[in-house]
């Protein structure tokens, strides 16, 4: 399932399509203010692009781009962005996740600060969802066995 496919067409097409998927994912995240979309949807699309890479190029190559450790760190990091923005509001003297008070920090009117706060939160959600999607797919497709161990075993046996 995670082995490199022999079909050059699949690999070439995936390589061409991936940047467009990622740009579209960033667009969906960033454009959530004006159109349907947002962190969850954009994060899933972004995660799908990494999953496509894993399917077409195999585990070894995919681990260079996005390892299971990085995915775990990114998922925590995304949640940290969300709760960090909430905590920042608390430090600035308003309620948790009440972005209006960030206006003094960002030097804009409160309404604009709320808009930017929403954007920051959506980015956090997007990162977390992307990393979790990749992490779950990684675990299920490998059955939880990380190839690093296998390589160690292989050299140990020789």
């Amino acid at each position: 399932m995670t082995r490199v496919t022999d079909d050059i067409i699949i690999r070439a097409v995936a390589r061409v399509i991936m940047p467009f998927i990622q740009i579209y994912a960033l667009y969906v995240i960033m454009h959530g203010h004006h159109s349907p979309g947002g962190g969850f949807q954009g994060g899933v699309i972004l995660g799908a692009s990494f999953i496509l890479y894993l399917i077409t190029h195999g585990l070894e190559d995919a681990k260079k781009r996005m390892s299971e450790l990085k995915a775990g760190l990114f998922s925590s990091f995304g949640l940290l962005i969300y709760s960090g923005i909430g905590l920042l509001c608390l430090i600035m003297g308003s309620n948790y996740l009440d972005y209006g008070r960030l206006s003094t920090l960002l030097k804009v009117i409160p309404a604009q600060a709320r808009s930017l706060g929403i954007l920051g939160v959506e980015i956090g959600v997007g990162i977390a969802v992307m990393a979790v999607m990749f992490s779950i797919f990684f675990d299920i497709s490998t059955g939880g066995v990380v190839p690093e161990d296998e390589q160690e075993l292989e050299t140990g046996d020789e």
């Binding site: 969850f40 995915a71 948790y96 996740l97 409160p110 977390a128 675990d139 059955g143 296998e150 292989e154």
Partner: protein, 105 residues
């Protein structure tokens, strides 16, 4: 025991159905949600959050806690998959076929 569980499920179902009778009709303009919550969001969203998409402003601003919880749920799902499926330590001792290293079942 199974019979008891069935009775508990039926009673809970009856209570839930009884409770749903009191709920306002779908799209009822006189329901509490339509009377003051929705108009507040519709009228003040642009003024307060400068976000044209009302869904986004409700999701991430007015109901920010809820979305934080949703993100935590997704994060928990990822962590659970790691905890259940990943077995890094135990496999170290196992010998595998060097000719076919990806065959791990």
């Amino acid at each position: 025991m199974r019979f008891l569980a069935l009775i508990a499920v039926i009673i809970t179902g009856i209570i839930l159905i009884y409770g749903s009778v009191d709920m306002p009709d779908w799209g009822d303009p006189h329901s509490p949600a339509s009377l003051h919550v929705s108009p507040r969001y519709i009228e003040k969203t642009m003024e307060e959050t400068a976000t044209p998409n009302m869904v986004t402003s409700v999701l991430a601003d007015y109901r920010g806690y809820d979305t934080l919880g949703e993100t935590t749920v997704i994060f928990t799902a990822g962590i659970s998959c790691i905890l259940i499926l990943r077995e890094r330590k135990r496999r170290k001792k196992r010998k595998i076929n060097p000719k076919n290293p990806t065959n791990h079942v």
